[in-house]
Symmetry: D2
Subunit: 128 residues, 4 copies
Amino acid sequence: MLATHPASTDLDQEVLVRAIESLVECAQACTTCADACLSEDMVADLRKCIRSNLDCADSCSTAARILSRSTGYDADVTRAHLEAVIVACRRCGDACEQHASMHAHCRICADACRKCEFACRELLALVR
Amino acid sequence: MLATHPASTDLDQEVLVRAIESLVECAQACTTCADACLSEDMVADLRKCIRSNLDCADSCSTAARILSRSTGYDADVTRAHLEAVIVACRRCGDACEQHASMHAHCRICADACRKCEFACRELLALVR
Amino acid sequence: MLATHPASTDLDQEVLVRAIESLVECAQACTTCADACLSEDMVADLRKCIRSNLDCADSCSTAARILSRSTGYDADVTRAHLEAVIVACRRCGDACEQHASMHAHCRICADACRKCEFACRELLALVR
Amino acid sequence: MLATHPASTDLDQEVLVRAIESLVECAQACTTCADACLSEDMVADLRKCIRSNLDCADSCSTAARILSRSTGYDADVTRAHLEAVIVACRRCGDACEQHASMHAHCRICADACRKCEFACRELLALVR
């Protein structure tokens, strides 16, 4: 899809696409994990995890939208939102990891957060 | 991911997953198409298409989130949002199709809208 | 703001503005109520309420965005999303109302949902 | 609403509420301005403004949601998203200001962006 876009940024397209796809997948994993946590018997122990999931889903969705736009590209806007989503993914990954052995949805979500954080760091290194 | 969820709905999981995935892909296609249209020389002829893209991206994102939740499932909420997103996809598909021969991003986006509309209709038929 | 828009729909501007404002306030109330419920000791009894809050926040945000756009107005898209958000507000208002006597945030949120449902029904009656 | 929340952060509630309200208003102004720009005869000259509007609307919506949550408060997540939305508001305010003399919606939106940037900077100074 990005290849059909009339505008383009200097960013490596492969790294950019990997970041967008990781963000979309992570947003989806976090939305589902928040709801799965909410249904667990031990929901009271998962409050922090649910909150991190909700923040991370919102942050990933916004970052994916901003990265999907090339018109009037602004490196500062891109950089600031990559930095923000990296923090959200890091903290959500940490929160989910603590419950990964008990809840498969937390394990899968932690993996999505780590992968997304990595893909965003890779892209961030290219944003000047 | 849904298979690891402690709650579950009566909905066929395969049809549900297909709908969620189509919604996520369609939201992404619409966000990118809106921005690609904005960069086209003939942007003035693509206003309606851009507007439909923005509506459809928002509607698909919301429907994907609602469908990803199983806790306290409510068939009426599910049905109403499937019906809404089906209208958004139909209209956006129509708008993009008119420019499909000139703009590859509109052709790809029209396909994503049609596929999403189909997947949501398939799921809607199962919601009682 | 709408008065400065070059395009305009046939919709009564006062009713339209009231609907948009109610949607924005309701989205905000639902996001806060979901988080407040999550912090309550009795979080396990508030699962359904939290889920309805999250759905309603997403639905209101999307409806507010769609109603804020006048370019290439489409009555069918407007109607379908008003109908969807009315269902979301109805169900979230019902869920919050059950806890209104115990939790002030649920009482305030139920009021926001009822007000929003009313404003959207008022606008829906004008969409042909 | 925040006063009814069982959890609370150390943040000054007045400054926090001002930031959330400014974010919600700015998101709304940006969504409307993007659509108004799209309907202008000179839409081709407003591409950059529309793109900034869309980014800023998404960024403000996400920041408003994150700030509205107190459960499991994380200062780093708060700080990173305040920093990101400040950049988005700054750039959108700059883009809209260039068209403020010609388009009243751009003038109103630029004001909303400046006010929001100010409110978020004020809150950011309190986040440790």
